[in-house]
């Protein structure tokens, strides 16, 4: 038997044709690992083509998972194990391999015709690419066929189980308990026990194949658990965590959750998720367009619901007028922007941070709006909850920004206890104000009161036209407009957000790394690497974008060098310059539609460090 070696962390990348089930195999492997207490961070890398030709280079789908004994911050730059189910996967995904990576291929899918589809010129893909890595070349397709020969399944269905063989092989390589996978499959296919049984059989076959042949590797591996916080966990991706945050906030506030939406990649899964939970009273309306998604949410908010609308960048363009209506009417609304590559249709399945200025400023008139950016898949839960709390308590639309990377990536989520979350208290108009109340009277926080239809004596009209501060009637009075503009701005500026936390060498860093939203993990990993190399580095990562934390200026000015790293052309650096007098940071801007590579960050930050 191969020797067993204990690792601190490992990165596995499953890749194959988009129909090969790589996402499912990757998900199951992540969950098995998380179940034994490892930390996980995943990154599904979908092809953008609707249905690329089978076996073609553009049709490759990947799923990368980083497993650690300790906390892991990113899905990993490169992988330790690459599963390549066909030549196209090998060709396009090999760039994610290290010299030490182990590669698993299905020799049955490396025949002449398969190689041609991936533009190989010879019959030996490994030699043609000059690959020197360990390769486990297994006749996966044939073994799956043999394994399911008596199952009575049709040949197409049999081939769909190839992913499970690869999963079994990876489970063997990492000494994973396959029973956890078996239980997951039994639950997933509870209504089709035959399918569960076949999948389980194939996983076992993959595992046994590794065991029996010792394959061509010297070691198998384990990743032990070292410091997981006690509690009950689940694997959750960002879109699901966002959905859960909205549900939790509605329950805490005692309000009906309303989602008006229109399908758009990569935000659609929030609509899918919330549509499932009607037993919690969640109301979802798939509207005729993005505009109606937001407009109907404004109507729902007026009528007394916790109203949300979900979209991605192009949808924000369309919603911006209705968002602005919520600004002037001062109604609570949560607008979710799962950012993708732009401009226009751009790169629908890829991730960027290029909507920041659109969310902050992309509306006519002075239109201040709180903006919160989730920092990781699991943080989407907290960010969504806080977006709702701010919207409801301050009677304002709030933009909740995530991105494709955070939305599709997953992490181990410690199940929250709703009792421990802060209360949500919207400023309902007090009964004793009946008779004297007008719509723009404000509480101490500067928020308008919420008078929900059905309450007698509080009938009022809101609208898109400027209103008189005292009477609520339409007004074009210059002094009044100036006053209302200031009141709307002050209300947002006064919102309390947590102070910025500086991690790493908080006291004596030579370089402060600054970022916002979904890049937290990568920036943290870059900081860790630089500190491990003896450099004095700190990280200040923003989740609250508008208003900024009160200590922003003091943190930005405390360090000799500051580098703002973001996946756009410098939008957040610009926002900080606007808000922090004299702030002149270094910038690292990259817009590839892919998560940062930690190695690139370290190289660039080190160059700044050494300047």
């Amino acid at each position: 038997m191969a020797k067993v070696e204990d690792l601190d962390q490992v990165v596995v990348r499953f890749s194959g044709d988009s129909g090969d089930g790589m996402q499912l195999a990757g998900n199951i492997f992540s969950t098995i690992s998380a179940t034994v207490g490892n930390d996980i961070c995943t990154f599904p890398d979908y092809p953008a083509d609707i249905r690329a030709p089978q076996g073609s280079l553009t049709g490759v789908s990947g799923f990368q998972v980083h497993i650690g004994a300790n906390k892991v911050f990113t899905p990993g730059d490169k992988c330790d194990v690459l599963v390549a189910m066909n030549p196209a996967a090998l060709k396009t995904q090999y760039k994610f391999c290290k010299p030490t990576s182990c590669i698993i291929i299905d020799t049955d899918s490396f025949k002449e015709s398969d190689l041609k589809k991936a533009n190989f010129e010879t019959l030996d893909a490994i030699a043609e690419m000059g690959i020197k890595n360990d390769v486990i070349a297994a006749p996966i397709t044939q073994m799956v066929k043999d394994c399911l020969a008596d199952s009575g399944m049709d040949p197409k269905a049999v081939l769909k189980c190839r992913n499970m063989f690869a999963l079994g092989l990876v489970c063997w390589l990492f000494n994973r308990d396959t029973n956890i996978a078996f239980n997951m499959l039994k639950e997933k296919f509870a209504k089709k026990p035959g399918v569960a049984e076949s999948n389980i059989k194939v996983i076992q076959a993959g595992y046994d194949y590794g065991q029996n042949t010792h394959s061509s590797v010297e070691h198998t591996y384990t990743v032990e658990t070292k410091c997981a916080k006690k509690g009950v966990y689940m694997d959750i991706n960002g879109n699901k965590a966002t959905s859960y945050g909205l549900i939790a906030a509605a329950e805490k506030a005692g309000l009906k959750l309303y989602l008006g939406s229109y399908p758009i990649t990569p935000a659609t899964d929030v609509l899918h998720e919330l549509s499932k939970h009607k037993s919690l009273g969640v109301t979802t309306v798939q509207c005729e367009d993005e505009i109606a998604g937001c407009a109907s949410a404004v109507g729902a908010s007026f009528a007394g619901a916790l109203a949300c609308t979900s979209t991605s960048g192009p949808g924000i363009c369309l919603k911006s007028e209705a968002m602005n209506l919520a600004v002037i009417m001062e109604l609570p609304l949560v607008v979710l922007d799962v950012q993708r590559g732009g401009p226009a249709t751009g790169l629908p399945t890829k991730s960027e941070q290029t909507d920041l200025l659109q969310c902050l400023f992309g509306r006519n008139g002075e239109s201040p709006m709180p903006v919160i950016a989730a920092t990781s898949p699991t943080d989407c839960f907290d960010a969504a909850y806080m977006a709702c709390k701010i919207a409801l308590e301050h009677m304002t639309p709030v933009v909740l920004m995530t991105d494709a990377y955070v939305a599709n990536g997953s992490g181990a989520f410690r199940l929250p206890n709703l009792d421990e979350f802060p209360a949500i208290n919207p400023p309902y108009v007090p009964e004793e104000m009946k008779g004297t109340w007008t719509p723009y009277m404000r509480n101490a926080a500067g928020s308008r009161y919420w008078a929900i239809p059905g309450r007698d004596g509080f009938q009022h009209i809101l609208g898109g036209l400027e209103k008189d501060n005292a009477t609520g009637a339409i007004s074009t009075n210059p002094e009044n407009h100036n006053l209302m503009t200031h009141l709307r701005q002050e209300k947002i500026d006064k919102i309390e957000v947590p102070d910025l936390v500086v991690e790493g060498d908080e006291k004596d860093a030579e370089l402060l790394i600054v970022g916002f939203g979904g890049t937290y993990g990568h920036l943290h990993a870059a900081m860790d690497e630089m500190r491990a190399a003896g450099k004095k580095v700190a990280l200040a990562h923003f989740k609250y974008i508008n208003p900024l934390p009160k200590n922003t200026a003091s943190v930005m000015k405390k360090y000799k060098k500051v580098v703002v790293a973001e996946q756009n052309m410098g939008q957040f650096a610009g926002w900080l310059r606007m808000k922090v007098d004299g702030f002149a940071p270094y910038q690292f801007n990259e817009v590839k539609g892919q998560p940062f590579m930690v190695a690139d960050l370290v190289e660039n930050f080190t160059a700044v460090y050494n300047k």
């Binding site: 034994v36 006690k230 689940m234 959750i236 505009i291 729902a300 509080f458």
Partner: protein, 334 residues
Amino acid sequence: MSELTAKDFKKGQPRWCPGCGDHFFLASLQKAMAEIGIAPCDTAVISGIGCSSRLPHYMATYGMNTIHGRAAAIATGAKVANPNLTVWQISGDGDGLAIGGNHFIHANRRNIDINMILLNNRIYGLTKGQYSPTSPRGFVSKSSPYGTVEDPFRPAELCFGARGHFFARAVATDAPGTIEILKAAQAHKGASVCEILQNCVVFNDGIHESVYSAEGRKKNAIYLKHGQPMIFGENNEFGLMQDGFGIKVVKIGENGITEKDLLVHDAHCEDNTLQLKLALMEGPDFPVALGVIRDVEAPTYNDAVVEQIEDVKSKKKYHNFQELLMTNDTWEVK
């Protein structure tokens, strides 16, 4: 609660031009609401942008005067979120059928229980006189000094094409006729479109001239009533008869035609073919159809949403957030 009067729904001083059809309609709406008897606090009036969209400002109900074209979408959200609310959506022909055309058809298709008022003056008034999507071909306006080169929408056609279940028409100056269709719209469960023929005294004066006065309507309009034969004319001397695939005007008593030969109005008929023919009638050869032209029962969107939620609640085992969490694969770190 004591009986409601129109006064209970009145607020402020309307700012429309003197003689504008909107004044007449507002008064009829307030009277209709009083007769319907739903309290102002349980009523929301939601409009878009345009002259007629100022209407909610003059109502003592809950209201919103929102953004151009979106009133139907906003009203949809309000009704779904709060089904106990009676929702009236006020739009003009530009707000409802140009910039808001998509929401108009989808509200009808979904059959959301809102009353959709379309104040049709066939002109853009607030922006001072451009042609609208209901202006006739060749219409001369500030933005079409040589006449338009496009055909107009006919609102009933859009409504029916979108599978609308209720369509009624009244003339703004005709208070009884307007009140009657507003009450019918409220009684109808589902999206109810009321087209109000309304005159713009400044930019399109006389556009509905033939039916704007009581005398005009006597001659040039027909009041359709469910179950009644289709008779019109100053002396009730004319009637409507089916003629092959079409409709023809006949003189009662001529060629042996009696009342028994006339079409009897069926607003509840599921098949909208004849209702559409009636709705599209125009002068001078045909009378303009007024009253409730189509009123067919169908499941409403908001009821279905509530029913589905109740149904799923009774079937699923999780009913709060904590229970939802436990539906996932979980593991414990001890």
